[in-house]
Symmetry: C2
Subunit: 278 residues, 2 copies
């Protein structure tokens, strides 16, 4: 089974192409947990318990674990082990280095941490990408069109995103490259879809960053995927803050997270069911 098969099955089982973030940071803490390893451990387990049948995927943001050092990495290992086998696990690490070092990063993420998918920075070119692509049963999401303001500096300027998208489609002979495509982008999303008809997109930025769900589906859905709300891995929408209650909320945190995840699922089903690829 390839990673894309696993992602497709996870989307079907959970009912939507929803990825939920696991980011142990003070600004994402709710419910009075302590901002330390044991507080974050309890909190991340609560998020997983509340969403495990609704999330097709969980995305770990490695930076937040690394800021706590080796104890943070041990926390990541423990939390990763609690995720059910059928759920898709993304290690968001944005690594990228010369070939021999990239090989070690791929080993760290795919083997040691058992990632189904990782995020990779393609700036250093082919030999930095290939060691990830050699894991043909896994998926590597490369940065193509990111959602942050700085994307305008290099990725959007002079069409670098087009060049990266075209090169990766070519390098990934096994069809196991995905793209990170920020929901804040516009017509560029349709342009990248035009270059890469079947490539899975990981789409951050629909929640807190204000990207518009309907627009992204219209611009970026794979041909023929709209109308079936749950089975297409071509657009995997990622939310972190989007499933969390407001800071000042007095609701039960677990119940609130669950309700918000269910609302995202319903909204995704609606948008995919009634969308329009034209």
């Amino acid at each position: 089974m390839t990673a894309v098969d696993k992602l497709r099955a996870a989307c079907r089982d959970s009912g939507a192409m929803l990825s939920v973030g696991l980011e142990p940071a003070p600004q994402y803490l709710r419910g009075g947990f302590d901002a330390n390893v044991s507080g974050y451990e309890a909190y991340l387990r609560l998020i997983i318990d509340a969403t495990v049948d609704v999330a097709a995927a969980y995305k770990f943001n490695l930076a937040f674990f690394e800021a706590m050092g080796s104890r943070g990495m041990a926390l990541l290992e423990r939390i990763r082990d609690t995720i059910p086998r059928d759920t898709f696990v993304i290690m968001d690490a944005k690594r990228g280095d010369i070939g021999s070092t990239a090989k070690m990063y791929a080993e760290a993420l795919f083997e040691h941490l058992g990632a189904d998918a990782v995020t990779v920075n393609p700036l250093m070119g082919r030999d930095s990408a290939v060691p990830f692509l050699e894991y043909t049963d896994r998926l590597t999401y490369f940065l193509v069109l990111t959602s942050n303001p700085g994307a305008a500096d290099f990725l959007l300027a002079d069409g670098l995103y087009r060049k990266i998208a075209a090169a990766l489609t070519f390098w990934a002979e096994a069809g196991n490259a995905g793209f990170v495509i920020g929901a804040t982008r516009g017509e560029e999303i349709a342009e990248v879809r035009g270059l890469a008809a079947d490539v899975p997109f990981l789409v951050p930025g629909v929640g807190a960053q204000g990207g518009d769900l309907e627009r992204v589906v219209k611009l970026g859905a794979r041909q023929g995927s709209v109308g079936d709300p749950s089975v297409d891995p071509g657009l995997l929408f990622h939310v972190t803050r989007g499933v969390l209650p407001d800071v000042e909320s007095t609701e039960d945190v677990g119940e609130s997270i669950r309700a918000r995840a269910l609302a995202w699922r319903d909204r995704l089903q609606e948008v995919m069911g009634h969308g329009d690829t034209a």
Copy 2:
């Protein structure tokens, strides 16, 4: 004291602009140590003992520690703690992410691991760079001209390296941006030096990758820096394999590493002392 001041002092005290690599990987093991955490720990301590007065800097390649998971990161923390206070410590992590995540990576590397300098991937633009540059007493080396073959795919094509170099010089208001400049490059090195007269370069690729030391000094030295072999941090040359004995060697490993580091120091002194910036 800024990081550049510390680097300058470390170069003067050690006698050359030499950075030695700390990479726990089977291909770099010598002397029969085991390829596991305790074997690497003894081996890395041996490398440091053999070179501590000759190396201006040590560069940790994080990938090799991460491949061993949280136990590898704990090893990194222990080894980092054995390095004398006056020696310059580089965490080669090549991180790069949106602003809020970049802030956590900067915290992990500068605060938790106490790096004097880090390597960063600038692809995602200004908001991915600024959280590192905000540590004005540290140095951030950005990827500009890397030594690997894949640099030709995006960095060298359409002059992206020029655009990155110009932007970073502008963004680093405190003058605390450095550049990674591969020794395998040619006239582009002189071009980047022309754009960034005083920027410190971290130069990998002079050893195993075949870059030519004299040529790099001629193309990339700061104006006026040649003639004084030890006090200029404008070019910090990095070697990993270059200080290791051949695999089949029967020499004492510690003595051999020390002899090779001293030979690098002497060669750097000679090249810087007799070089020509014309």
